[in-house]
Symmetry: C2
Subunit: 81 residues, 2 copies
Amino acid sequence: MARISAGLDKDGALVNLGVAIRARRKALHLSQEALSDAAEIDRSHMGKIERGERNVTFLNIVKIASALGCKASELLVDSNL
Amino acid sequence: MARISAGLDKDGALVNLGVAIRARRKALHLSQEALSDAAEIDRSHMGKIERGERNVTFLNIVKIASALGCKASELLVDSNL
């Protein structure tokens, strides 16, 4: 949930993770709303995660990966992290 | 930072991640204090992360992995996540 302050994500890790989530979501032809519902994450929070604007928690990464039918580690590999 | 309520980590994901962090730390002969300092994470918070008692944020996973000389994705692969 943590809001991120300017400079915290200095290496762009959150942005890269968000890009990876969005790419897998689109490959599955899922709307952001459908993914939010499947992962049981608030829709506006999901939008901020995809834009790299929130320091997403580990359990939410696991839930998002599950909703995308992949492993959490695969999302990170996609992100080159 | 989030404290986790009973049942939230129902699949043991946080516990598995904590075990993976501890295993890599011990393989490097690092104390928990040394890892905390290298990752710039509060020592008592690091203890709770290793025990799976906190829903660690993504940026902290990235910092811990960096301090352990591995990728964040490798920590998750170790955790079978």
